[in-house]
Structures are given as structure tokens and as C-alpha cells.
């Protein structure tokens, strides 16, 4: 018999029962909830006279709608306010822990779960949000679910699904200085495409992945969904354990030791077989920038906007033509020649402390270029913000001309007041460059925090690996 993959192990440990066609009830250990995809689920429970199966497994936080400035006025948009108040009421009614808007622990749901140690190795984690894949960095089986499934998990503590296939993506070698986890994951998406991971659970492996910090690993797992995979994951190692130790929700004392012994097994067996294997050489990865309206429409900073005329597939060619027209770009244009209007550093992909440090290091002592109308930093949580302020990163950003905001999803999806106006072009550290994602008619280029910071200073994209950076030491 061949060995098991990490995904096989996580799956097997959570099977409650299996139907003849393979449809399986899997038990859910952690359920993260936010205000946008939960109200209809709680309403469904109420209509059916049901209660949450295990309220203690649920952790809730408002993030999508929350304003990032003027918090002293509360949420002024009445529709957003109703959604946040509905979450407060639902949590209060069912005894669910919620980090409310005035709580320093409030932030983007995928930032606060790991930050609190509420995401642990070996867990099944769900949330009504596709970027739940983030939590796979902790060797958890973490998946985004729809609202009907949110209701199903609340009521039964289980999820009904069929097992996915196994894919391993190995990234080996040492990336050049200035190349980040974001560049690695954009390179992966460029390689396999936005549907490349459909039907698969992805495991990321290789020396370049092992060398990443937990925050970098979260960035990679976060964008698994942009490669089509519902979940992405990585094995447990010392980096994982060091990150989790003493976090508020992590086990303590004897229980910690017992847990660690179990967690050490959370890796694919040497003889495990994957349905698909992909390999990348980290040494070849350059800073990445998306040029189109799908994350797979990506090239490197040395690259040029591609020419649809060179594409033989008619559907793809049509997609490229539409993307270039929407993005206001010409075939053959140099990426470094693309001038920007706004800069967004934030989102569940890149709003953790290391992301802010990387960006601050680039802008230290410099000024945002005059053509940039707005450059903003939105920390991933209240605690990230607090830490950044302790390190005076806020001062570096403010002195350079950035706005320093309060935590939330913000302009990643523009559900609050932070958005692009039609035709505005943005260097964004978020995860989606879809049409209208950051505001109707807005044009998004996905990049790493360092690349976004460098673009803010230059006013256009520049190669961050060629910059002279003032050391913070």
C-alpha cells in the first residue's frame, strides 16, 4: 500500500460517514464567521428551529463592511450597519464569541484566526469566504464554503462533500532578494492557470516553501483559490510550532506537548502518490505583476503586455482582448511603463506585520509620487496595527504620504467606502484583479507589498530587486 498525502491524513481523520457514491460527512473543528455570508444562514436556523451544534467552535468577526477611517462616527452606511448589527445579534443569541468592531483583536477573518491560534494543525477549518484556504499554511484542511454550507455546519458540525484529488506543487531553490511569497504564488497561478487546481487539494512543498515564514506561507495558501483549488496546505515543521506557541487559543502545558506529538505526523508520507505534480525553480522567479482581469493574466516586471493576436485559442484571445480594453493597455507595452493612480497595501493576502515591514522598508525616507492620488495601508487586524505602531511603521508611511487606516477587508473588494473610481489604476497587494472588483471600472494590478510600495514612490511599476533599500537596522 502506498503512503498517504497530508490531505489524505486530514481527510481520513475527519470522516464521520460515507455514502455509497463517495459523498462524505466530514467533521468541522473550527468555523469562522463574518457578516456578509452568515445572516441568511442564521435566519435559516431560526426558521427551522435549530441551534448551533457546537457554538464554542465558532469565532466571528465583522471585516468586509467595516470602515477604515472615521470609526468614531460608527458605520454610516445603513445597509452595512444592518449587516454588522445582524452579526452582533446572531452571535449574542447563540453564545458565539465575536471580536466586535471596537475590539483590538478585530480584523480580517483570515488574519485573526491564525493570530489568535484559533487555527491549529490537523483542524478542519471552514468559513463562508473563499480565502479560507489561507489557514492551510498550518497543515489544516481549510476550505471556503457557501452560505447554505455555513448553515449546514452551524446545525450539524459537518460538511457534506466528496474527496478532492491530490496535487503537489514543489518550489525548490533560493529566491533572489526582494522576491516574496506573493511572487511565488503569482508564478504558480501563471503556470497552472486559474482553473488548474479545480477539483484538487494542493500541497505546497519544496525548500523555497519550507524557507518561508508562516506569514509568507499564508500568502501562498491564501491564493490557492485563485488557482482554482478550494484548499491549499503545507506540512507542519518547527516554523509552524514556533508561530503557534503561546497564542491565546493554542493549547498550553501538557496539552501542548500532546498536540505537538500529533502534529509532527502532519506531512505527506515519503511514498505518497499525487494525482498531479508541478515543479517550479524559485531562483528563476522574478517580481510578478498582473496585467489583465484574471490572476492568471500575469507577467514579470521585465515583461510586456501580451498581444492577443499571438493567441491561437479563440476563447482565450477574446478574453485577452476584453481584458486589455478594460485595463486600458496596449499589446507590447512595458510593465515598468504603467503609471498608477492609487496604491492599496492590505487584504487577507498581504496585511500582516511582515508585509507592512517589507513595504515600510521601501518607502522609508521617501515620498509617494505626485501622480498617486491615494496610497493607503490597511493593517490586517487591530493587533497588527498595534504592533506596526510600536515599530513606528505608521510614521514611516504617513511621512511618505500614505494614509494609515483601521483594519478590515477595505479596497480588496470595495464593500466599504474604499474603492477605485472608473478608469483609476491601482497597484494592489490583494488577490483578485477581476473587472469591477475594487470599484466599477477600476483597474487592478496584483503585486507584492514591496512592489506596491516601490510603485507608490516611483508612480509606476519598478523592479524592487534593483532598488537600493535603506536598512532599518
Amino acid at each position: 500500500m502506498t503512503g498517504k498525502t497530508l490531505y489524505d491524513k486530514l481527510w481520513d481523520a475527519h470522516v464521520v460517514r460515507t455514502e455509497p457514491d463517495g459523498t462524505t460527512l466530514i467533521y468541522i473543528d473550527r468555523h469562522l464567521v463574518h457578516e456578509v455570508t452568515s445572516p441568511q444562514a442564521f435566519e435559516g436556523l431560526r426558521l427551522a428551529g435549530r441551534k448551533p451544534w457546537r457554538a464554542a467552535s465558532v469565532l466571528a468577526v465583522p471585516d468586509h463592511n467595516v470602515p477604515t477611517k472615521g470609526l468614531e462616527h460608527g458605520v454610516t452606511d445603513p445597509v452595512s450597519r444592518l449587516q454588522i448589527e445582524t452579526l452582533d445579534e446572531n452571535c449574542a443569541e447563540h453564545g458565539i464569541t465575536e471580536f466586535k468592531m471596537n475590539d483590538v483583536r478585530q480584523g480580517i477573518v483570515h488574519v485573526i484566526g491564525p493570530e489568535q491560534g484559533a487555527t491549529l494543525p490537523g483542524m478542519t477549518v471552514v468559513c463562508g469566504d473563499s480565502h479560507t484556504s489561507t489557514h492551510g499554511a498550518f497543515a489544516a484542511l481549510a476550505q471556503g464554503i457557501g452560505t447554505s454550507e455555513v448553515e449546514h455546519v452551524l446545525a450539524t458540525q459537518c460538511l457534506l462533500q466528496k474527496k478532492a484529488k491530490n496535487m503537489r506543487i514543489r518550489v525548490d531553490g533560493a529566491p533572489a532578494p526582494g522576491i516574496t511569497a506573493k511572487d511565488i504564488v503569482l508564478a504558480i497561478i501563471g503556470r497552472i492557470g486559474t482553473a488548474g487546481g479545480t477539483g484538487y487539494a494542493i500541497e505546497y512543498a519544496g525548500s523555497a516553501i519550507r524557507a518561508l515564514s508562516m506569514e509568507g506561507r499564508m500568502t501562498v495558501c491564501n491564493m490557492s483559490i485563485e488557482a482554482g483549488a478550494r484548499c491549499g496546505m503545507m506540512a507542519v515543521d518547527d516554523t509552524t510550532l514556533a508561530y503557534l506557541k503561546d497564542r491565546p487559543y493554542a493549547p498550553k502545558g501538557a496539552l501542548w506537548k500532546q498536540a505537538v506529538a500529533a502534529w509532527r505526523e502532519l506531512k505527506s508520507d515519503d511514498d505518497a502518490v499525487f494525482d498531479k505534480e508541478v515543479r517550479l525553480n524559485a531562483a528563476e522567479i522574478r517580481p510578478h505583476v498582473t496585467w489583465g482581469t484574471s490572476p492568471e493574466m500575469v507577467t514579470t516586471i521585465d515583461g510586456r503586455v501580451p498581444d492577443p493576436a499571438q493567441e491561437t485559442d479563440a476563447v482565450k484571445r477574446g478574453g485577452m482582448e476584453r481584458a486589455l480594453s478594460y485595463m486600458g493597455l496596449k499589446p507590447g507595452a512595458a510593465i515598468t511603463g504603467i503609471a498608477l493612480d492609487k496604491i492599496f497595501i492590505g487584504s487577507c493576502t498581504n496585511a500582516r506585520i511582515e508585509d507592512l515591514r517589507a513595504a515600510a522598508q521601501i518607502v522609508r525616507g521617501k515620498k509617494v509620487a505626485r501622480n498617486i492620488k491615494l496610497a493607503m495601508v490597511v493593517p490586517g487586524s487591530g493587533l497588527v496595527k498595534q504592533q506596526a505602531e510600536k515599530e513606528s511603521l505608521d510614521k514611516i508611511f504617513i511621512e511618505a504620504g500614505f494614509e494609515w487606516r483601521a483594519p478590515g477587508c477595505s479596497m480588496c473588494l470595495a464593500m466599504n467606502a474604499d474603492r477605485l473610481e472608473p478608469g483609476e489604476r491601482c497597484a494592489s497587494t490583494s488577490n483578485r484583479n477581476f473587472e469591477g472588483r475594487q470599484g466599477q471600472g477600476g483597474r487592478t494590478h496584483l503585486v507584492s507589498p514591496a512592489m506596491a510600495a516601490a510603485a507608490a514612490v516611483a508612480g509606476h511599476f519598478v523592479d524592487v530587486t534593483k532598488l537600493q533599500v535603506t536598512s532599518s537596522k
Binding site: 455514502e19 451544534w53 448553515e151 464593500m415
Partner: protein
């Protein structure tokens, strides 16, 4: 959930790949705390010429005449013909709610994004995967023949074209059973309450740190 058995539906073609859930239902409409009423804002940014916000009277808004669903020949369509990776992006179930509310009951594409595919079944909406070449051909047939309709028979797992051609399709047995009978997943799962409790008791022993 509404049952799905057979459907004869006019087909509307949406000829672009990677249609994401932000395009299906833009974020400003996600602020609703209801499951219904999303239909008028389906494909909002493509369908109207102005910017849509919740609470607007959509019947007064200027339509984009170039958008396929605004063409009179596709009015009342019940089946959406689409390209690969349909429904990619966010997990928002508002996407299938909007498609359903608009009047679609079945979707045909060479592939769907996983979360979206799953969400459809929870709402009585049938996503059908057909080979890319077959989908290509259907796009040509729909374009050539106004009033082009397909008959979808879920029990028999087949589609009948106007020329009488039969196109078989795959669907999981469990999902098919739920859709044919309009069954509520939660009710079914709770029939296995004892299994869940037994699992929980075992797990509590093996991994007590998960239950603190």
C-alpha cells in the same frame, strides 16, 4: 429547496471564459441579509450602463443593448450556456441566488469553479459539465437558431437538442437524489446525529485540545 426533474428551457449564451462571481453579482448587493431579490442585479455591471446600488429602481436604469441577456431573443431564458471556469472567485452564494432569481434553472459549461458548483446544488440550480467541443457546437447552434431550447432530464442524465440529439451528462448520485426530491441537506445529515456524536466522543479522546 425547489425540486429539479425535467426542464425545457430557452438557452442564452454567455461567450466568455472565467466569469467570476464578482461579475455575476457585484459586491454592493451582498449587503442584503436576505436570500431573494438578487435577480435584477445579476451581471449588473455588464447589463446596465449606469452604476447600480442597492435600493435603486432597476426598471428605470439604462440597459446595455450589447449585453446578451438584454437581447429580446433571449428573454425568458432558463438555461445559461457558458465557458470554462464559470463561477470562479468568491464563495458568495449570492451568485447562484441571483442566477436562480433571474430565472435560470440550469447552467451548461465545460467546467465550473468548485465552490460555485457546490453552491448551485444547494439551491435547485443544476450545473452541467459538457465536453468543450460539445459546448463549442452548442454556442454555434444557439447563435444560428432563435428560440433554441434544450430539454434537460435529470433523472435520465441527458439533454435533448432541438434536432433530437441526446447529450448525456454526469452528476453525483447523492446530489442528483437531493435535487430530484428537493431534499434539505441539513435534515438528511441530522438523521445521522448518532454518528456525529460518536465521532465527536472518539475525537475528544484522541485530540482533546480541539475541544477546550
Amino acid at each position: 429547496m425547489e425540486k429539479f426533474t425535467t426542464l425545457k428551457g430557452l438557452v442564452a449564451p454567455l461567450d466568455r471564459a472565467n466569469v467570476d462571481t464578482d461579475a455575476i453579482i457585484p459586491k454592493q448587493f451582498l449587503k442584503s441579509i436576505k436570500r431573494t431579490g438578487f435577480g435584477p442585479n445579476l451581471f449588473d455591471e455588464w447589463r446596465y450602463l449606469d452604476h447600480g446600488e442597492p435600493g435603486m429602481d432597476n426598471s428605470l436604469r439604462p440597459l446595455n443593448p450589447d449585453f446578451v441577456l438584454n437581447q429580446p431573443r433571449y428573454r425568458g431564458a432558463g438555461i445559461l450556456l457558458a465557458r470554462g471556469n464559470f463561477g470562479c472567485g468568491s464563495s458568495r452564494e449570492h451568485a447562484p441566488w441571483a442566477l436562480q432569481d433571474y430565472g435560470f434553472r440550469a447552467l451548461i459549461a465545460p467546467g465550473f469553479a468548485d465552490i460555485f458548483y457546490n453552491n448551485c446544488f444547494k439551491n435547485g440550480l443544476l450545473p452541467i459539465v459538457l465536453d468543450g467541443n460539445v459546448v463549442d457546437r452548442l454556442f454555434k447552434e444557439v447563435e444560428a437558431a432563435p428560440g433554441y431550447a434544450l430539454i434537460v432530464d435529470l433523472a435520465a442524465q441527458r439533454i435533448t437538442t432541438p434536432s433530437g440529439e441526446i447529450l448525456p451528462f454526469e452528476v453525483d448520485a447523492f446530489r442528483k437524489h437531493c435535487l430530484l426530491n428537493g431534499l434539505d441537506d441539513i435534515g438528511l445529515t441530522l438523521q445521522h446525529r448518532d454518528d456525529i456524536k460518536a465521532y465527536e466522543a472518539r475525537r475528544r479522546m484522541e485530540a482533546p485540545w480541539l475541544f477546550t
